[in-house]
């Protein structure tokens, strides 16, 4: 019997296909390609939006036209042709009034493939889910249970119609329409996403979850998520993302806004597994996302992300610590392999007194990928006694990948305490052999070492998603050792 070498493993892993790369044949309605004021109006009309919303979108569109795509990130790609994308695609036969039992059987089959059978989710996990396929929210489970507590969890398109006061008051307050190129684009064309409101003093009894999936070819997905946690409330929110394997790049430009009012706490977890492209770097999702949270007095926002997919990632979930004693946290695992590129990190803006932030970033690079951490810690003049702790660890697999760290620190207050630690390590042959000797095959050994490396972040995920994330890390790493 011949030896199973690391090279064999490498070949095997390279040939392993993206597990979620299936395409579901659902009848869908797709707009012609291109973007103009007419298209923006058409989207708004299609969604039966009020006039103020249409105007808000147009304002964003007009700003976007004037803007240029940013190129300061440490990523290289052919810029998408924004006129070659269709900005609206919806599975047909969607009727918001129907229950789970009426959902298109093909869609249900797709959820099964994704490993998220709604029935099961409903019964076992105690998780309320909103699923966004292409651009439209398909099913929101558990709505009734939540409503009893006064919690609103629904597609944002529905919220615009049914809770216009809330949406109008908060939409764009954390990420303004003109914040950046992609945020402006999203503001103009977003077609769905999730909306969540937790009333004063309510502790949301279950995890709220959104599942995003790009299905149609040649479409962009622009979700808009708005989470509002009223005073002294608590919510834990999770989003998961997948897309089918396609040769061309798909564009994903989402905006997430979180508002944590006095004493509120929001935990926002993401498991991002968009199609990363094939082993030659062909295809894959461009993931240009703006995520930001605002903390009022004594509030806390915690971002946890596991990023394994996308060809190019540009994403900096941030916290604006406006209120005194507010807390911001960012826990991240970013895995890149083959030709993937990730430029991700966070911004912690300390405005209030005694504000505190923690950044734990774990980057894992394999293949020919490039993985960058970019973070900003900013302490304003009035933020007395602000504290930040940052830790950026990189793990390299093989000799052809790169890990980069770009930490920016700006402090205008002499009482600030800022700590930054960084390490870079490599999976050693001796570690792998040690595991092998105990009967653990190389592939499993790498997974074990990577999980150990990522543990501090994995521990921050809700239990059931930590297991999923662990599996995902295993699938995503196609690296060799040595």
């Amino acid at each position: 019997m011949s030896k199973y070498t690391e090279d064999d493993l490498k070949v095997e892993l390279e040939n392993k296909e993206y597990e979620y790369g299936f395409y579901t044949d659902i009848e869908s309605e797709t707009f012609p390609i291109g973007l103009s004021e007419d298209i923006v109006r058409a989207i708004s009309l299609k969604k039966e939006e009020p006039e103020w919303m249409t105007e808000w979108r147009l304002e964003a569109f007009r700003a976007w036209v004037q803007m240029t795509e940013p190129d300061w990130a440490n990523v290289h790609y052919t810029k998408p042709d924004f006129q070659a994308i269709s900005y609206y695609s919806a599975p047909k036969k969607v009727d918001p009034s129907k229950t789970l039992d009426d959902v298109d059987p093909e869609l249900l089959a797709m959820y099964k493939k994704l490993g998220i059978s709604l029935d099961e989710q409903k019964k076992m996990n105690n998780i309320a889910m909103d699923i966004v396929v292409d651009s439209v929210s398909v099913a929101t489970t558990f709505k009734k249970t939540l409503a009893e507590k006064g919690i609103i969890f629904c597609p944002i398109s529905e919220a615009i119609k049914e809770h216009p006061d809330l949406v109008r008051k908060y939409l764009g307050t954390v990420v303004p329409q003109k914040d950046n190129f992609y945020a402006a684009l999203n503001s103009a064309v977003f077609s769905d996403g999730s909306f969540c409101y937790i009333p004063k003093g309510v502790r949301c009894p279950m995890e709220l979850s959104t599942y995003f999936r790009i299905n149609q070819a040649g479409t962009g997905q622009f979700e808009r998520t708005l989470v509002i946690a009223d005073e002294e409330s608590y919510v834990s929110y999770l989003e998961g993302c997948t897309a089918p394997s396609r040769d061309e790049n798909q564009l994903h430009a989402a905006v997430v806004e979180l508002i944590a009012m006095d004493g509120a706490e929001i935990k926002y977890s993401t498991v991002q597994n968009w199609f990363p492209g094939d082993k030659n770097g062909k295809g894959g999702v461009f993931n240009f996302v703006t995520k930001r949270g605002l903390c009022e007095k004594n509030a806390k926002i915690s971002w946890t992300q596991v990023e394994t997919g996308s060809a190019v990632t540009w994403k900096y979930p941030s916290c604006v610590l406006k209120g005194d004693n507010s807390v911001g946290e960012f826990y991240s695992i970013a895995v890149t392999n083959n030709f993937q590129q990730a430029d991700t990190g966070t911004k912690m803006i300390h405005l209030g007194k005694n504000t505190k932030s923690t950044i734990i970033s774990k980057g894992i690079s394999a293949g020919k990928s490039q993985n960058s951490y970019r973070g900003l810690v900013q302490i304003s003049g009035r933020a007395d006694n602000a504290r930040n702790f940052s830790q950026c660890d990189s793990l390299l697999m093989g000799n052809n990948c790169g890990a980069h760290t770009f930490p920016y620190i700006e402090s205008k207050n002499p009482s600030a305490k800022i700590e930054h630690e960084a390490t870079t390590s490599k999976i050693g042959e001796d570690q792998v052999f040690y595991c092998n000797q105990r009967g653990i095959p190389t592939e499993k050994a790498i997974a074990l070492i990577v999980n150990g490396f990522s543990k501090e972040v994995l521990n921050k995920l809700p239990m059931e998603f930590a297991v999923e994330a662990q599996k995902l890390l295993e699938i995503s790493l196609e690296g060799s050792v040595g």
């Binding site: 030896k3 199973y4 042959e429 052999f433 000797q437 190389t442 150990g452 990522s454």
Partner: protein, 267 residues
Amino acid sequence: MIWAGDIISKFPNFQISKFMLEVKNLHAKVEDKDILKGINLSVKAGEVHAIMGPNGSGKSTLSAVIAGNEHYEMTEGEIILDGEDISEMAPEERAHKGIFLSFQYPVEIPGVSVTNFMKTAINESRKAQGLEEMPANEMLKLIREKSELLEIDRKFLSRSLNEGFSGGEKKRNEIFQMAMLEPKLAILDETDSGLDIDALRIVANGVNKLKSENNAVIVITHYQRLLDYIVPDFVHVLYQGKIVKSGGKELAYELEEKGYDWIKSEN
């Protein structure tokens, strides 16, 4: 009808191997440097063999090659475990067949607890044998049993593997793993190095408790002192990649008395 007895009587040289491990004419090199130059070694179940020798004689290479470390290239010979040639097998397959190596320098794996590591190792072995994963309660029972046997504080088991362990803790952890995995053949590579006398006694006691009629131990050591605690049935002296002398436990004392120069001058 042919009877097994007939075959054996017709071919008097044919016999079912009574050895657990047979190393025949083993040659190995690392980066073009020949290290092992024809090692022969036979070990039966229930035996303890000691391999001694001066620094650079190839002791650690021998243990690494038996365990299947691909950093070393085996150029000639055979390694037979229970009648099966394992020299082409991956290290994890050898481990599944019952080979255990206690490392001279155990590596650190940050974030992976001793318990989690052992759980993974045991379940991978079971998987290779077509068995289900060990149920959690059974695993806990096994851990409790073995840690009590070796007098290991269970708090120790939730620490990251070898990270920040003292020399003694590392070696005790190796023996704990040996206890958990219950190997057929355990190779202890310089287990005594870096240990004070108390730690040495604890580790040796652990090995003695694990010894049985069904397993075998190869102790690799530079000094005789470990052999006061783990008493060998045979002692082999390795020098320049060959076993140049074999004998009973008294050979270790002779070596201690005369020093390795005695071997060097004879060869």
